[in-house]
Amino acid sequence: MIKRSIFKSRGLPYLLILPQILVTVTFFYWPAIKGLLQSFMVTDPFGNRSKFVWFDNFVELLLDPLYLKSVGITLMFSFGTAFVSISLGLIIAAMANRALKFKWTMRTMLIWPYAVAPAISGVLWLFLLHPSFGIVSIFMKKYFQVDWNPVLDGGDAMTMIIMASAWKEISYNFVFFVAGMQAIPKSLIEAAALDGAGPFTRFFRITLPLLSPTLFFLMVMNIIYAFFETFGIIHVITQGGPGGSTNTLVYKIYQDGFVGLNLGSSAAQSVLLMFLIIGITVIQFKYVEKKVQYTG
């Protein structure tokens, strides 16, 4: 799209878009192409020689149980994070929307975790859930006789990174749910109340269906957040362990590429991840179209 009334100039528009094109080409397209080429090659760890091997890296990956395990872990982790943070955000937003007084005080008290770096959220939760002196593990041992130990138990470690990741994201979901709820016409709620619908019926029959576009959008955003931005949390708390049980796709790319120096495999993993994200984006764009029909 373009304006009807535009400026005429020969050189200026190129000059204006140049910085954007330069950074995009240098830091996006060039590395992406290099990565793509690298994914078809095998390079020795010193980077001296490389050989073109067609799709060998990809075939190897898709047959590698460790990679498939990592895909499973990533899906579990991102859906777990999305579920916990979206449901908590939704409950809190529904309550905040009901409360007439203190609405804005509540908002102030709920939005700040968004500004906490994922890695710092990791530090805070590591302290809370530490196996030997974390208050949660002491509590679990004392009252439930559960031996909580994320250093040794993969399931516990997964729970820990999900909690650290979801905690930070509650405020993001909260902001969107509150915005979505305020867009619902009061008359709809009042009409339902006149027809005898109680608060819970109204929530599940009116508010929630009308929030479904927001809900779906937040699903996508939370999953993308869990895929990428949680690198810091995993790096601080578990480093992919124990026994690879929290080795998500992005963490594995880092591990194989920078620690293991397996450049070809790491590049192939990046390419596969890129396709995965493009898939998610396409789904999201379809949803955007739906949303337009929905409201208009």
């Binding site: 309550m95 700040w112 208050i135």
Partner: protein, 296 residues
């Protein structure tokens, strides 16, 4: 609110306060730990009472972690990314919306293809290029289209440019400005042209003042984004004087064999997470606007 029953009101506030407690607890616990002396913080379980060592711990953290330098680095990085992104995308969006030229659509598409692909996906090739010679694409293109043998070299390791520049390559801000410019009335541009204003005068005197709230919103979002970066600064900095605060924090976390100085580590965590939280709280209005706008 349709009906008012004391029980529902009570439940609403009960759940709201529960939500605030869940969200606030990790930080409250951290603040308590940061006020305790070493012998109290290593007690099992840790006493849930404020101690009097807060300033002592903060001072120890500041010196031990070299936080002064690191927080300054984080500030420079976050500010650089914020200013860079906003400038680049403001100019780019202006060029795309207000001019008609040959490569306009190509430029538009090639920038927006990058919308959903974060730096984590192409991390290895981006790092290789930035760490060796990020002018490689420039050399290649010049050599391809002319007879000049260009061999420019510039590596970005351990520099502010390296921390900032690769993270400016993002289309979100450009997309946002484009959407906003399209809603600006056509008459403004016509009137400006009638009065003989040049494109740059129009941008400076009319478009930028109109975009003030959008710019404020993006400043909050991008500052938080830049300050909290983890994977990229972890790779591109090796010199302890150049690392950012979020990365440096990891060196203070006690490992298995260290003295468990969690009080100092957590005091440092509080200091490091404070600046973005303050930005979000003080610019709350713009933050919410930015959050909701940026994800449309």
């Amino acid at each position: 609110m349709v009906e008012r029953t004391p029980i529902l009101d009570f439940l609403t506030y009960f759940f709201l306060i529960l939500g605030v407690v869940i969200v606030g607890f990790p930080v409250l616990y951290t603040i308590i730990a940061a006020t305790l002396p070493l012998e109290d913080v290593s007690k099992v379980p840790m006493p849930f009472m404020f101690g009097d060592q807060f300033l002592v711990n903060i001072k120890a953290a500041w010196e031990k972690g070299n936080l002064g330098t690191q927080i300054l680095n984080s500030f420079i990085m976050a500010t650089g990314i914020t200013i860079g992104k906003i400038t680049v995308s403001l100019l780019g969006a202006f060029s795309i919306v207000y001019f008609d030229y040959k490569f306009r659509v190509i430029a538009f598409i090639s920038v927006f293809c990058t919308l959903m692909l974060p730096v984590e996906v192409r991390i290895l090739p981006t790092y290789e290029m930035a760490a060796v010679n990020f002018l490689e694409p420039v050399n290649y293109l010049v050599n391809l289209f002319s007879n000049v043998e260009l061999e420019l070299e510039w590596n970005l390791l351990d520099s502010y440019t390296g921390l900032i520049l690769p993270l400016i390559a993002s289309a979100t801000c450009t997309f946002l400005f484009r959407q906003f410019f399209l809603t600006v009335p056509e008459e403004l541009c016509e009137a400006a042209k009638m009065d003989g204003a040049s494109p740059m005068t129009f941008l400076r005197k009319i478009l930028i003042p109109l975009s003030k709230t959008n710019i404020a919103a993006l400043v909050v979002i991008e500052f938080v984004y830049g300050y909290n970066q983890y994977l990229w600064p972890l790779l591109i900095t090796t010199n302890p004087k150049m690392i950012t605060a979020v990365i440096g924090l990891q060196n203070l976390i006690p490992q298995a064999d260290d003295i468990p100085e969690w009080n100092i580590a957590l005091a440092a965590a509080l200091l490091v997470m404070l600046p973005p939280i303050l930005v979000v709280l003080f610019m709350q209005r713009w933050f919410i606007k930015g959050l909701v706008d940026a994800e449309k």
